[in-house]
Subunit: 471 residues, 2 copies
Amino acid sequence: MTIDPTVLDRFVAIVGERHALRDANEIEPYVMEPRGLYGGATKLVLRPGSVEEISRIMQLANETRTEIVPQGGNTGLVGGQMPDRGGNQIVLSLSRLNRIREIDVASNTATVEAGVVLQVLQEAVAGKDRLFPLSLGSQGSCQIGGNLSSNAGGVGALAYGTARDLCLGVEVVLPTGEVLDDLRKLKKDNTGYELKDLFVGGEGTLGIITAAVVKLFPMPKGRELAWAALPSPEDALRFFEMANEKAGSALTAFELIERTPLAFALKHIPGAVDPLSEEHPWYVMVEISSSRSDDDAKMLMEEILTVAFEEGLVTDAAIAQNEAQSATFRHLRESLSEAQRPEGGSIKHDISVPVARIPEFLELAGKAVQGVSPGARVACFGHMGDGNLHYNVSQPEGADKEEYLKLYRPMNEAVHAIVRELGGSFSAEHGIGTLKRDELLATQSGIATDLMRRIKKAFDPAGILNPGKVI
Amino acid sequence: MTIDPTVLDRFVAIVGERHALRDANEIEPYVMEPRGLYGGATKLVLRPGSVEEISRIMQLANETRTEIVPQGGNTGLVGGQMPDRGGNQIVLSLSRLNRIREIDVASNTATVEAGVVLQVLQEAVAGKDRLFPLSLGSQGSCQIGGNLSSNAGGVGALAYGTARDLCLGVEVVLPTGEVLDDLRKLKKDNTGYELKDLFVGGEGTLGIITAAVVKLFPMPKGRELAWAALPSPEDALRFFEMANEKAGSALTAFELIERTPLAFALKHIPGAVDPLSEEHPWYVMVEISSSRSDDDAKMLMEEILTVAFEEGLVTDAAIAQNEAQSATFRHLRESLSEAQRPEGGSIKHDISVPVARIPEFLELAGKAVQGVSPGARVACFGHMGDGNLHYNVSQPEGADKEEYLKLYRPMNEAVHAIVRELGGSFSAEHGIGTLKRDELLATQSGIATDLMRRIKKAFDPAGILNPGKVI
């Protein structure tokens, strides 16, 4: 359905000309995501400045059956934030709702609007000696609303949980324009069905999260970061189990990294330096946090590394000596995805399996990949402690990129078949969006997708909110 | 609608005569809960032995529009597990589905059927050096299915979360008889809407949880338990904040106890002994767990108690010297509810407020209670670290019990008005059931209850599963 120009004008009137973008150049950043993989088209980007304006937008959308695509920092990796190519969906940017409404130090909560950039929130609460533990590569530009809508994971999920676990309450504009004010600060509340957990992870298809109450934690008194080399994924698993036993919730990151993506980073990322002097097939980046002291974190880190050396799990390790070196390790880890680009085509997977099955997955998937594209280079890294790997496969050296990328589907199928066999998920933390919708429908049980459809219909009977995403 | 006897026979045929109870004496334990507060009536209790039988029961229920009430250990406090008094609802007991299907030590998960008694699970995983941290007064008889359906909280929720947080996947028989197999072991899985979190806490109105994957934790190497005396709730709050800062997630229990309920326990519970030699107005029971060692837990406990003494927050304290003494402290805490019974009528509230507002709540509620019933005795205790208090109010000494209990509604209204004012919940961990349904409808936003109704209708269009509960 083509939008009537008079209808467009009515949408513009709600936010005011200044905050309605119709010029193609101004619209461009909203219809193409940073990697250039997902593009869409729209005649209008609305940048409302209040919940009330968003409510009026949805009322008008409902009246005129206009499709609305909510968008945060536009960093999503599965196309969930993109309008389709038809040009008749309106993009609703949450960016102007960027107020931190409250930081409640005593209750360890922050009430934040959807458009607050993740890093801005991290820094604001750090100023009050509090930690907001959600931590992602895109934290400098992604927004809380998008983090919640996609149930973002990241490095900190191991100890602190995903975005859903970190969210206590939400304020949501429903597809009908009604506003659900559910901004609770409560750790326990059993008053009826858990609506919040549908909006969190709902990828903007059930309602538009406009604000949320998130959990904060006392800032750890000490943090230690180590980069350790290991012979194999089996050793990494045994190291993880041992560290988990000894450190418990003080183990705040456990990232697995294969040599290949590290080698890519050392080659392509300016200033990247190998933390260790020799090459090793596998690495883990381990973080220990202590609520007591820096010395306590050091002691615990040294204890687990000592045991790991003694048991032959770890063959070399570097402990970051100061904040600057910690930042270098972290930056190296975060650059692994980007470092793949100069190596040509990359076929990506965001999978999870039960933690104990990671070595098995790596072995089986490694073989399957060679079956699809002999010579393809697995560049795997990820959140081992969560069973979540970014299993990215770069083209064989010297191969033709276009030809290689034609293998996207068979490669996905081969890898995801193994994931299913091991009881895993083909979308651990990035969501479904448009990218994985067909696969969701093809592989989830018919009962599960049927229930999801019923929920979508119950919440958005007119089907106007982020249509074509998830389900 | 009266159930046709031939229909009853068809239900009986599914489970077999042996597992279908029609005799009034046999039925009795299923239609009266242990405290004797909620009673119902039924002509038939079904005790199916498999998921497949439950599926067939729901198919038949659907065909014949027969109302089904699922029931676990029958320990729920809000009537959620009770049939109504009409006698035409069938009780479906999950007790025979009592197999622990798997304990996966490496992945830190257990796959358990709904009828497994909580304590049985705790002990089974302890045998493999694992902790299942859900811990309730009724753990000797409550069942996992009920724990999940009511999103149980308890003492361990402070560090480990409620039942919802502890559940990774579920197997559910839907009202239509279809079986949703969602028994995932994954810490991260963003494949569509989070269905699990609707069934968990859904009080058996959206589906029947037949099995679940729950999280396990490495058994702590050391645990220390202290019973400390404090001048006031303000001191308890400051103590909690300090302990939370210093111990972080090693702080695994922080229970607030007023003198009154302790005095009741000392008077009425055989063998109960005051852990301290003098009387004090307030107490906290604090647990520290260490993943490292017993000594480490001791050191941390001593450190926080020392600071608490120095700052005048705590005036006396006893640290349990061994497992036996720990058990005594725990038993004393768990007996507080029971100890109120000999003191006459008790009007109970299960509330939560943001943690920092607990002192304010106690002051305001204390006044409000006296306004409703001068001389009524507040016997408050609960999970302070979660902002969750069991705010029970015993009748004035020597008052007439029946007369006092007539004040149930005005007392609830007075207390819950303050809860609302402070942004709290009138059902923190016990759920809605039938007890609080009217209050849910009266006080939640119309939008929230409307969404809940839409979900109920989407999942159970015939309205046959646990009707009259929650919504």
